[in-house]
């Protein structure tokens, strides 16, 4: 651990470890992310749901992709973010890092559930059933299990800093396993593939389909940042309630 600590990180890195600093900077950045999120998600959804051309194979039902794909991408990104901030908390002993990781858990699980539900909704008109054990859906389901494990561990430990450390270890082990799990599920799926169509195959997409997707993905990332900042700042107010700056801040509200 001390080898990592001897790296010279830029000043803002250490500053972020201060709850007060994070709270203030986060507060200033939040509105920008909210605006970006609303703008891009609205634009992306309108374009994707109403104006993008219908897919020649699936008709209009494929439009659920504009929600499903960003949700699936984000569910993985958030897990990795959870693990990275957990690692930062463990190595540099930053409380704020654990708070950010904790904020990610429920948000990430929700996006994973959303990916699963939209996957099922997409599946019904395409294959006639709501659920299919294809590689992508199965991996997403396992992802949900990983999230519930992290959430369960977090709930089981009373002391916040111990819980932060334990869930950090679990998220790191989980993240390292994600490629292994995805590879093994994909491989397993090729053995049992009955339907020829998979939710994942989309090699060539005309720009009219691709751009709204991109907007949705970036918009959702902004939404995530906004949500994580919001939850982390609440967590900071809660955990630092003894500090004088918190009392002053609450008085001013």
């Amino acid at each position: 651990m001390s080898w990592f600590e001897s790296w010279h990180m830029p000043r803002w890195f250490y500053q972020m470890g201060s709850p007060k600093w994070f709270f203030e900077i986060g507060g200033r950045l939040q509105p920008w992310f909210m605006v970006a999120a609303i703008a891009m998600i609205t634009w992306g959804l309108l374009w994707g749901l109403l104006y993008a051309p219908a897919d020649y194979q699936q008709g209009n039902s494929f439009r659920i992709m504009y929600v499903h794909v960003p949700a699936a991408i984000l569910s993985q990104s958030i897990f990795v973010m959870m693990a990275v901030t957990g690692l930062i908390g463990l190595v540099w002993k930053m409380k704020v890092a654990f708070m950010v990781a904790r904020s990610c858990t429920l948000i990430g699980a929700s996006f994973t559930a959303l990916a699963l539900i939209t996957g099922a909704v997409w599946g019904k008109p395409t294959w006639g059933t709501y659920w299919v054990w294809d590689a992508r859906l199965t991996s997403t389901l396992i992802m949900l299990f990983l999230y519930t494990g992290v959430i369960a561990l977090n709930q089981a430990i009373a002391d916040r800093s111990i819980a932060g450390r334990a869930t950090a270890i679990l998220s790191i082990v989980g993240t390292i396993n994600i490629p292994v799990i995805k590879y093994s599920v994909e491989w397993w799926n090729t053995l049992h593939q009955s339907s020829s169509f998979s939710l994942t195959a989309k090699p060539t997409m005309p720009a009219e389909m691709y751009i709204p997707l991109l907007l949705m993905v970036v918009g959702c990332y902004s939404l995530i940042v906004w949500l994580v900042l919001q939850r982390t700042r609440n967590e900071i107010l809660d955990q630092e309630r003894q500090a004088s700056w918190v009392a002053r801040y609450l008085e001013e509200r």
């Binding site: 009373a158 002391d159 800093s161 955990q239």
Partner: protein
């Protein structure tokens, strides 16, 4: 007669401990020299065990630092005895000492005799009373050459005679140049005991 100061065995500076978002102690300093015995006092939950564990290295130290100037080994005996029920007293001492400096059976038998457990060496620990199990754990004091002892509630479960015996062992150890830091609800009957009161330390926020 040496005219120099006795050796410093433990130097703890500016230690702090937070638990469940409550600050238990802060800015705590403790210097332990050879021949000294320190009694950490305080009400339940004041952080006595946490302080001892920080010194022993079982709890991470977030603030301040702990150093052992002579870089010698320490013996930590925790609140729980670390005695396995399905092993005999002798076997328990065997694995406990194997963690540091292994002992042979003669040494273990002699240690068990010193703590008053002669004849019980091969008894399953499940059949020993709580006081006897405590004695088995304390037999390590006679097997381990570490100068600094960190003991958490060593007098618990001991009867009057046991407590008197223990204090005699402590006195012997101090005479040989060792040092002891312990926590205990009971008061000690040893000359020269130095008190570290965590409750008082918190009140004045200095030590």
């Amino acid at each position: 007669m040496p005219s120099t100061m006795p050796d410093i065995l433990l130097q703890a500076l500016d230690l702090a401990c937070e638990r469940d978002e409550r600050m238990l102690f802060k800015g705590l300093n403790l210097t332990v020299k050879a021949g000294e015995i320190w009694h950490i006092k305080g009400p339940n939950g004041a952080g006595k065990t946490s302080l001892l564990r920080q010194i022993a290295g079982l709890l991470p130290i977030f603030q301040g630092n702990v150093s052992f100037p002579l870089d010698q080994s320490i013996l930590y005996i925790g609140h729980k005895s670390a005695i396995k029920d399905q092993l005999s007293a002798n076997e328990n001492l065997a694995w406990l000492t194997a963690l540091g400096v292994p002992s042979d059976e003669n040494q273990r038998y002699r240690a068990l005799e010193k703590v008053g457990l002669r004849g019980y060496e091969e008894t399953m620990s499940a059949q020993l009373s709580a006081g006897q199990r405590r004695r088995v754990a304390l037999a390590r004091l006679h097997l381990n050459a570490a100068p600094l002892w960190l003991l958490d509630e060593p007098l618990t479960a001991m009867d009057k005679q046991g407590i008197a015996d223990e204090q005699a062992w402590f006195a012997d150890h101090l005479k040989q140049g060792g040092a002891i830091v312990l926590t205990s609800h009971q008061d000690l009957d040893i000359p020269g005991v130095q008190i570290l009161d965590l409750h008082a330390a918190m009140e004045t926020a200095s030590c």
